[in-house]
Symmetry: C2
Subunit: 195 residues, 2 copies
Amino acid sequence: MNATTGARERLVAAAQQMFAAQGVGATSPRQVLDASGVGQGSLYHHFPTKHDLAVAAVGATVDDALAAARRDLDPGDAGTEDPVARVVAYLERPRDALAGCKVGRLTSDQAVMDDDGLHDVVTAYFVRLLDAVAATLREAGLPDAVARDRAHAAVAVVQGGYVLARATGDPDAMSAAVRGFVALLRTPAPTEGAR
Amino acid sequence: MNATTGARERLVAAAQQMFAAQGVGATSPRQVLDASGVGQGSLYHHFPTKHDLAVAAVGATVDDALAAARRDLDPGDAGTEDPVARVVAYLERPRDALAGCKVGRLTSDQAVMDDDGLHDVVTAYFVRLLDAVAATLREAGLPDAVARDRAHAAVAVVQGGYVLARATGDPDAMSAAVRGFVALLRTPAPTEGAR
């Protein structure tokens, strides 16, 4: 890693932190520059506009989040072949509920929603996450439409769990939502055994 | 209704609209004043500070949202005594998915989270909503802890459904989450019939 690469990574890491803490719209490139400790020339060399910096930082956050979900859903990493148990592992992964989802919160950030390039990065995250959960549920023998709906419900419970935790100031609100959903998920449907 | 009452109501309605469109933090009392069409004196008479205006407007939004949920859950309004059907009515109520939840989105609004008075209004909404859904599920014979967890999951699916719809730009993402959850909710657990 040369000095220039280090500067780029420090800028991206600082932007990721500030976006998570205060949103994209409220964060200026100047604040990221100050927090990163790199020189001003490096900022404009790597990221000529705020848009460029935001796409890099949101992209890095999305890559991290997707990698975590894929570990939960991977038979090797999860330590079980059981598809439902792997979806439960994704649901029950410990999360900083009061901080909110670093990706999900971006959907309430007008600066993100108004920027097509940024919005596309957020969209791609959820499309890939939903595909990964649905693919896992299909392994459990669910028809595609049922697996897709159930995957949407699973991801929504996590996203909504963050909203409930932040709204009530109680991280257990997210745990309760996950417990309630997992209890239903583990109940075999009378017809599913027959498929 | 006298002229003063009308001005207060117009200010609150304008603030509710602007908060929903662009958030509390990004909305100035001046913008609300211009949108409401009332005189400047009325604004400062009714709402000496932005905090006062925000508490009134967020309070009105919360009252509307809670009244809608209670209609879904009320046996008379829902047209059925069946508790699960009433929770399904709450889940399946048509929503403007791409606009996001007027209350839920406030949890991503730093200006709301940093203002204890406003945060309390948002907290009270979710506490009451969760209580109402849990009370309905207890009527279905669920033990209190199970009913509370399931109520958290139900409200989380709606909140997370909004996040998925906004993230993907597709209102059907919310419908899919609700369909996936309702399918699980309607599956009787093997042990529940025995209770």
